[in-house]
């Protein structure tokens, strides 16, 4: 019999972005779809995508979410919030404003039963540790491409703080071997010449920064579409080594299992999935991996549920083989 995985699988409802935005699936429909993959799936929500009460929690949303979690036997894993430091035109929010805004979301996560609150890097988060402990909700920064687990200053701060209520959530888009095939296909479809794609691929492989890639690409050709292709090459696909998680696993309560497309052979062209899963196994990860399908950024027609199913199958296979 195969070894049982010490971590759970699930998905962020953001994976169903296209279905949700185009009214094909309500939040409850997304949750029912996720539940169809088997018992005990973990569910992550992006708060301002689902709750009209954001940054607070609305009573209507609380009732809907709790009903659906119970009905479909899903496990709440991560509440994705934001500091939104530039929400006021013309200035950054003050320290106190930011703290107040995040405390509303910490309370929302607690009310809804989520054990982890994820936010983007911001200035106040580390100081919220006492509130996190009181709420029983871990607060985390997302480490997203082009940030790297091994050397991002905020990850280092969290390690130095060494508080069990403060951690980080690596987004697997930072563990790439190359930009995704669907990314290259989309820009080719939009008329970007092959030599531009080859240039970006080669410079990315050398670990060049976005500015360095842009400078070289401009020598060949440049327009709005090419500019976007350059930006996305480093904003979506990062150079972190999955093994960098192993020594800091105690600070990682949750994983964003970002992926772009799993093909019929079970291959993800960008994310180093076998190494990610091996690192989680070796490091003793016990949280949940939220499958985060993001190929919808380039192609709207791919079936998100089928992609999540494939992604989770790859994770199980990689775990057995690791």
């Amino acid at each position: 019999m195969s070894e049982k995985m010490p971590f759970g699988l699930g998905a962020t409802l953001y994976s169903f972005n296209i279905d949700y935005y185009t009214y094909r699936r309500t939040m409850e429909d997304c949750m029912a779809a996720l539940a169809s993959l088997g018992p005990g799936q973990g569910v992550e929500v992006v708060a301002p995508m689902m709750d009209r009460g954001y940054p607070s929690v609305s009573p209507e949303f609380e009732a809907r979410l709790k009903n659906a979690l119970e009905k479909y036997e899903l496990v709440p894993t991560c509440y994705s919030g934001y500091a939104d430091p530039q929400r006021i035109t013309g200035r950054y929010t003050t320290y106190e404003e930011q703290k107040e805004y995040l405390l509303l979301q910490l309370n929302a996560a607690k009310t809804l039963g989520f054990p982890v609150l994820r936010v983007q890097p911001c200035r106040t988060l580390l100081d919220l540790a006492p509130y996190a402990e009181k709420a029983g909700v871990k607060i985390t920064y997302e480490i997203h491409a082009p940030m790297r687990v091994e050397d991002h200053p905020l990850a280092q701060q969290i390690i130095e703080l060494d508080n069990p209520w403060v951690g980080f959530v690596p987004d697997c888009g930072t563990f790439c071997r190359a930009p995704s095939d669907v990314y290259f296909k989309r820009f080719a479809d939009q008329g970007v010449p092959q030599e531009i794609a080859d240039c970006i691929r080669a410079l990315w492989a050398k670990g060049c920064t976005q500015d360095e890639i842009r400078a070289e690409v401009k020598k060949l050709a440049y327009n709005d579409v090419i500019a976007l292709m350059v930006t996305e090459s480093t904003e979506y696909f990062g150079h972190s080594d999955p093994a960098a998680m192993i020594p800091v696993m105690k600070f990682i309560p949750h994983i964003h299992g970002k992926f772009f497309y799993v093909d019929d052979a079970g291959t993800e062209s960008a994310v180093r999935l076998p190494e990610v899963v091996a690192a989680l196994k070796q490091g003793g990860f016990t949280g949940y991996i939220s499958s985060e399908y993001e190929g919808h950024h380039w192609y709207a027609d791919t079936d998100a549920l089928d992609q999540i199913r494939r992604h989770q199958a790859v994770i199980r296979r990689c775990f057995a083989e690791a």
């Binding site: 949700y20 301002p48 954001y54 500091a83 530039q86 929400r87 035109t89 940030m147 950024h297």
Partner: protein, 135 residues
């Protein structure tokens, strides 16, 4: 993202005088405060509609396009359409007209410096859409 879905209406609705109305959507995956709508610019048959003649209705309250930047406490929920009312120079003739919309969003959480102290810039998302609508 979602540029082509930004103009939600199939038709332009004639209102009083030279006003026409249509429903639009936020071209982003999550709700944003109205203050993050930095530009809301329509053209009808190639003619730009001035900002003071562009009004967005939110919960029944009309806001001129240039006032949106002040509304940091009012969320545009991602699933909601909002009605835009445009005051044109002359009534539109019955038939089809080309409507274009350019929207510029300030993404309030995308710190271009990734949380590290230093020079921080504003992350801007630009979306555009063009459709033929019938009056």
């Amino acid at each position: 993202m979602f540029d082509e879905l930004m103009i939600h209406s199939e038709r332009l609705t004639a209102k009083s005088g030279t006003d026409v109305a249509l429903d639009i959507r936020l071209p982003w995956y999550r709700s944003l405060p109205l203050s993050c709508v930095e530009r809301l610019e329509f053209t009808v048959d190639g003619a730009a509609v001035p900002p003071e003649k562009t009004v967005l209705l939110s919960d029944g309250v009309p806001y001129p396009a240039e006032k949106l930047r002040e509304l940091s406490e009012t969320q545009w929920f991602v699933l909601d359409t909002k009605q835009a009312v445009l005051t044109l120079d002359a009534p539109l003739t019955p038939g089809t007209h080309e409507v274009a919309l350019a929207m510029q969003l300030r993404v309030p959480y995308r710190d271009t410096n990734y949380g590290v102290p230093g020079i921080e810039e504003t992350y801007i998302q630009f979306a555009s859409c063009r459709r033929m609508l019938t009056v």
